[in-house]
């Protein structure tokens, strides 16, 4: 069982997540893609944890999960707020910070 299997899996998922973030217009979908990226990272962590027979990989994975939870909470709150103001959560239209 090659370590690379897991790392390749993580990389692919990561890239799909990135694609998701870059192309999706819907705020929630973008959050989902971010979740996907975070999971890719977790796989890497656990893989290396197992590879090195060291628990820190798993512990960090847990922390990442917790943070991800927090992040989704806040992200959704913001998305809902935008939705309430603009009736749509299309990311492209929220460009007030245009230079």
């Amino acid at each position: 069982m090659f370590l690379n299997q897991f790392l390749f899996l993580a990389a692919i998922l990561f890239c799909i997540g990135v694609y998701g973030v870059l192309t999706r217009k819907n705020g929630v979908l973008v959050l989902m893609s971010i979740e996907l990226i975070l999971n890719a990272v977790n796989i890497n962590l656990v893989a290396f944890g197992a590879f090195h027979q060291h628990l820190s990989g798993q512990v960090f994975a847990l922390f990442v999960i917790a943070v991800a939870a927090a992040e989704v909470g806040v992200g959704l709150a913001i998305v809902l707020l935008i939705y309430r103001n603009r009736r749509s959560i299309n990311v492209a239209e929220a460009n007030i910070l245009k230079g």
């Binding site: 870059l22 492209a92 460009n95 245009k98 230079g99």
Partner: protein, 772 residues
């Protein structure tokens, strides 16, 4: 005399050592009056008088001790030479090696005041113990100040007291007259706004005069000289409310300062000539011993002569003295008759060898000093004829008498000069105080022609004392004036049988003319004030006791003093004991003078008194007096109220009228000084200096300023704006254009930012992998 005989040795040295107390007392009085005067019952006068009385007593004691010393040290020995310093050991002066106590040698106590560049404490000179090494002991520690140090870059000033015949005489005169003036002033200046201030400065004046009299070093002399000048400034300008008085004070001080240039330079020359020493003793010794070249001595003497001319009102610089009458009369009496004005004569006496050798008095026929003296005698006397103000008459008479003293000293008649100074102080002070009492009676006016006349009926005492003073001044025997004036004429050495130091014919003639003139103008003054009818408006009254008592004392002194220096001829004629002859000469003539002239070239001899000269001189004086007397007698007969002939000789004969006008305008000297010189420097010259300062120098600076401004503006406009700024702006614009470009990138699309970020991330990773 009996007191002294008892513990003569002890008192003897204590008095000499603590002679500095005499100036110190009035000085302390000055400080006390200044601070506490206002609060005392009669506002400070009592402190002044107390101090001057104690000083006077001390002075009298010192005088008697000095006379006692002279009497003990044996007969008047002509040839004694060595100078002895108190403290026992006699230091043979390199004049002659003769041992033994010399009669009348000066007693000098000195203490080191401060040193400049003293090499005593200079580490490099190692432990060479010289006189300066050990710090000078307390007061009264006597040590020779010149320590025989060869190369003397060290310049240590010592301050001390010099007691000898001349200074003792001056001590007595100054304290005596100052005491009388103090008493006189309590009445005269009574009620004045600045009563305390007046007494403070009177004490300060007495203190500084005594300080100068006792000074043992030329520097001390200068200090005293200038302090006296300041006090006269303050006292002349006592009523400085109106401009005239402060002008007079200013004039007096500035003329004195003009003379002081000579003093400063003269002293500097002597200082360096005497191998960097200020001590008068050293200077005198070196002058006599010939260590200082005749040329330097002559220049120094000339410079010091300038100082004498200004301070003692000699001819050219005398204009301040009559104007100084603006001060209160007691001040005039003390300062401008008895004490300050004789400071110059005193200095000549103190530094006599310098003048004696410098002007070559021995054997000469005329020298600068004699000439100036003579000129002043005649010049001053003539001016006295045309004065309306009684004090001005007396002022010009003082100028004339001072000229007399300088004349005497110029002819080598040292004792005669000093004796005349001594006697003149008394009768001139008496005359001035008399004039003060007269003016006191006529409501402070001094104008003889307008407010006086016939006062003998109203003011008997003042009249009597004034007459005695006038007689003494005119030189009528047996009063003091006759003896001293006669001595001077004898000293001229022109009259057959009086071999003086040289045949001074012209000065002798000046002397004789002055003798006559003095009698003449004094009779005029006396007539206008006391005889004829009273021209004033209210009833004059005799002054109070505090004025008349000093007058009486002074008048009696004028009578008695003459007999101090009776020539031996008269003594034999009146069959008095031999010891009485030439008392004054024994007392006052310092040992130095007698021994000044060991070298043949400057032989100093005493002239022989002659009876015939005395008779002729007196006749001249009485004749002149009588002439003026009946001139006015006839005028009185014509019209009692008139004070001069309407068609008198002067008005009829043009040259006489011209002469009269010249005299009126005081030889146009005042016009020359105030108008031309002072006005010139103050006015145009100063304005010219200021103009140059403002226009040329400031102009230059401003020009530099403005040109630099113009240059600056030029540089700014072309180089700075054009070149430098151009580049700066260019760089600025490129920056802003670039900015515009980049602005596009910031589209506000979060998505675009994410894409860019990830793109950059991939590029970065690629770089890391491949490049690194």
């Amino acid at each position: 005399m009996f007191l002294l005989a008892a513990e003569e040795a002890a008192a003897h040295s204590w008095l000499y050592d603590n002679v500095w107390l005499i100036p110190a007392l009035p000085a302390a009085a000055f400080v006390l009056i200044l601070f506490f005067g206002k609060r005392l019952p009669n506002k400070g006068a009592e402190i002044g008088i107390a101090a001057i009385v104690t000083a006077f007593i001390l002075a009298v004691l010192t005088t008697f001790t000095w006379i006692g010393d002279i009497a003990d040290s044996g007969a008047h020995s002509e040839e004694a030479h060595s100078l002895v310093v108190d403290g026992g050991e006699a230091i043979p002066v390199d004049l002659t090696a003769e041992e033994g106590e010399v009669r009348g040698a000066p007693i000098i106590n000195e203490v080191e005041w401060f040193g400049i560049g003293t090499d005593a404490n200079r580490a490099t000179l190692g432990t060479e113990a010289n006189g300066h090494g050990e710090p000078a002991g307390g007061e009264g520690d006597t040590h020779a100040d010149s320590d025989g140090h060869a190369e003397k870059s060290a310049f240590s000033i010592s301050i001390g007291t010099w007691v000898d015949g001349q200074s003792v005489m001056m001590l007595f005169v100054v304290t005596f007259i100052s005491l009388l003036v103090h008493i006189y002033s309590t009445d005269y200046v009574n009620g004045d706004r600045r009563y305390t201030h007046y007494f403070a400065f009177l004490s300060l004046f007495t203190a500084s005069m005594l300080f100068m009299v006792l000074s043992s070093s030329t520097l001390q002399l200068i200090v005293g000289w200038e302090l006296v000048g300041v006090c006269s400034f303050a006292l002349i300008g006592h009523w400085w409310e109106d401009q005239a008085n402060s002008d007079a004070a200013l004039k007096a001080f500035l003329t004195n300062r003009v003379g002081d240039i000579g003093l400063l330079i003269g002293m500097t020359i002597l200082y360096f000539a005497a191998d960097q020493s200020f001590s008068i003793k050293t200077i005198n010794e070196m002058a006599v011993a010939g260590d200082i070249s005749k040329g330097t001595l002559q220049i120094a003497a000339l410079c010091l002569m300038a100082a004498v001319m200004s301070k003692s009102g000699q001819f050219i610089l005398h204009t301040w003295l009559p104007d100084a009458m603006a001060g209160p009369t007691p001040v005039s009496a003390l300062i401008h008759a008895a004490t300050m004005v004789v400071a110059g004569v005193y200095m000549i006496g103190r530094l006599y060898p310098v003048f004696f050798v410098g002007f070559g008095i021995a054997g000469g026929s005329i020298n600068v000093m004699a000439f100036i003296g003579g000129l002043t005698c005649v010049g001053g006397g003539l001016l006295a004829f045309v004065q309306r103000d009684i004090k001005k008459v007396l002022a010009y008479s003082t100028v004339s008498q001072l000229g007399y003293m300088v004349l005497a000293l110029g002819m080598g008649a040292y004792t005669a000069g000093m004796f005349h100074l001594f006697t003149h102080a008394f009768f001139k002070a008496c005359l001035f105080l008399g004039a003060g009492s007269v003016s006191h009676a006529c409501h402070h006016s001094f104008d003889m022609k307008a407010d006086m006349g016939g006062l003998r009926k109203y003011m008997p005492t003042t009249f009597a004392t004034f007459m005695i003073g006038t007689a003494a001044l005119a030189g009528i025997p047996p009063l003091a004036g006759f003896w001293s004036k006669d001595e001077i004429l004898v000293g001229a050495g022109v009259w057959p049988g009086t071999e003086g130091n040289g045949t001074y014919t012209i000065p002798f003639i000046f002397g004789m003319i002055t003798a006559a003139m003095t009698a003449a103008y004094m009779t005029r003054a006396v007539w206008l004030t006391f005889f004829g009818d009273y021209r004033g408006h209210e009833e004059p009254h005799e002054s109070g006791p505090r004025i008349t008592v000093p007058l009486v004392i002074l008048a009696s002194m004028a009578v008695v003093v003459g007999f101090f220096n009776m020539p031996s001829g008269f003594v034999k004629a009146l069959r008095l004991p031999e010891g009485w002859a030439h008392k004054f000469e024994d007392w006052v003539e310092p040992a130095g003078v007698a021994t000044f002239v060991s070298k043949e070239a400057n032989k100093f001899t005493h002239a022989k008194p002659s009876l015939s000269l005395a008779v002729v001189a007196t006749a001249l004086a009485v004749g002149a007096g009588f002439l003026v007397w009946n001139y006015y007698k006839r005028l009185y007969a014509m019209d009692p109220k008139a004070t001069e002939y309407t068609n008198g000789m002067a008005s009829r004969i043009p040259p006489l009228a011209a002469g009269h006008r010249v005299l009126e305008n005081k030889y146009y000297l005042d016009h020359l000084y105030t108008g031309v010189i002072a006005g010139g420097t103050k006015g145009p010259l100063a304005r010219a200096a200021n103009w140059t300062n403002q226009n040329i120098l400031d102009g230059l600076v401003n020009a530099v300023g403005s040109t630099s401004v113009v240059a600056g503006r030029f540089i700014y406009r072309f180089i700075d704006q054009g070149v430098v700024d151009g580049t700066v702006n260019a760089s600025g614009s490129t920056a802003s254009r670039l900015g515009q470009l980049l602005r596009g990138m910031q589209s506000g699309q979060v998505r675009q930012y994410a894409t860019l970020m990830f793109g950059a991330a991939t590029v970065l990773v690629a770089v890391f992998i491949f490049a690194v």
